[in-house]
Subunit: 144 residues, 2 copies
DNA sequence: ACTTGACCTTAAGTTAGGTTCAGCAATTAC
DNA sequence: GTAATTGCTGAACCTAACTTAAGGTCAAGT
């Protein structure tokens, strides 16, 4: 399958597919004239890339996921299912984070007394807390 | 409040705050010497920016949200609550999308017969469908 | 055989969201 | 009053994920 057909079937731009190859996400072979030829399984690979990206993964992350697929033979359904399992765990975590964010939103935004420690809305890995500094008041001006 | 203090309290880099000003997200006044001075309410503004970014909003989107805040007076709790309501709606939509994605993941990844129309996993605005082309098979090689 | 459209490579450009640097002015601390 | 800190501007640089351009090749139809 030439690159144009793959592009048409996935909706990706030809340039994007070539870019993915450059990043090691996909490995077409070349015909006698040097043109890329893709396997049918690459459709699935690209779909996985698009879905994972939609979810927020970076290309290097996706690459390392795809590296778990077998090299020599076309991936089986079981291979893809294995891949999807890790993906699903990440999804679950993401959903939980967003749900917590949502549940705390109303109480948090309107409130003038939120400290970094107690604020469920914004607590990015707690860099400041680790520095041993005093509380920072993110959503307001400090405790009333 | 000078920019360094704001940076220390929010955890943002000074350069980032200046960048946000350049993007119109925050509007400090200047003192006699030309240095930026920020209102206490700007802490909250920046927090909102950080949270919205974490959620995936772009700066222009955040800007248009923040434009809903009053210009002349410091925003009240009611102003922030109004803002948070729209934000929450977007969050709800996002959570729903991700949940649907998760619920369809297992069946979808392993399956070889998914068409663009029926695939809940990947359906990006249906650009191809609008073109009247035949179905594209995203996760597989077409119907068995 | 010839033309047209699909493909090739390499390099540079693009957008988002910043950071870094140079050189200079203002503030703060003592 | 002077030194250290903090702040200023503008331009250059950075990464991710691509796209566009330029110049040339391959393949398919007639």
């Amino acid at each position: 399958m030439p690159i144009g057909a793959l592009a048409a079937r996935t909706g990706l731009a030809v340039s994007a597919i070539r870019y993915y190859e450059a990043q090691g996400l996909i490995k077409p072979w070349r015909n006698a004239g040097g043109q890329r030829r893709f396997a049918r399984a690459d459709l699935r690979r690209l779909s996985f890339i698009m879905i994972a990206q939609q979810f927020g993964s970076t290309l290097p992350q996706i690459r390392s996921q795809l590296d778990a697929l077998p090299g020599g033979r076309p991936p089986t359904k079981a291979d893809w299912t294995r891949l999807s399992t890790g993906f699903r765990a990440a999804l679950d975590a993401r959903i939980e984070t967003l749900t917590r964010l949502r549940d705390n939103l109303d109480g948090c935004i309107g409130c003038g007394c939120l400290s970094l420690e107690s604020c469920a809305l914004y607590n990015p890995r707690d860099a400041a807390a680790a520095k041993g500094q005093g509380s920072r008041y993110l959503m307001g001006d400090g405790p009333a």
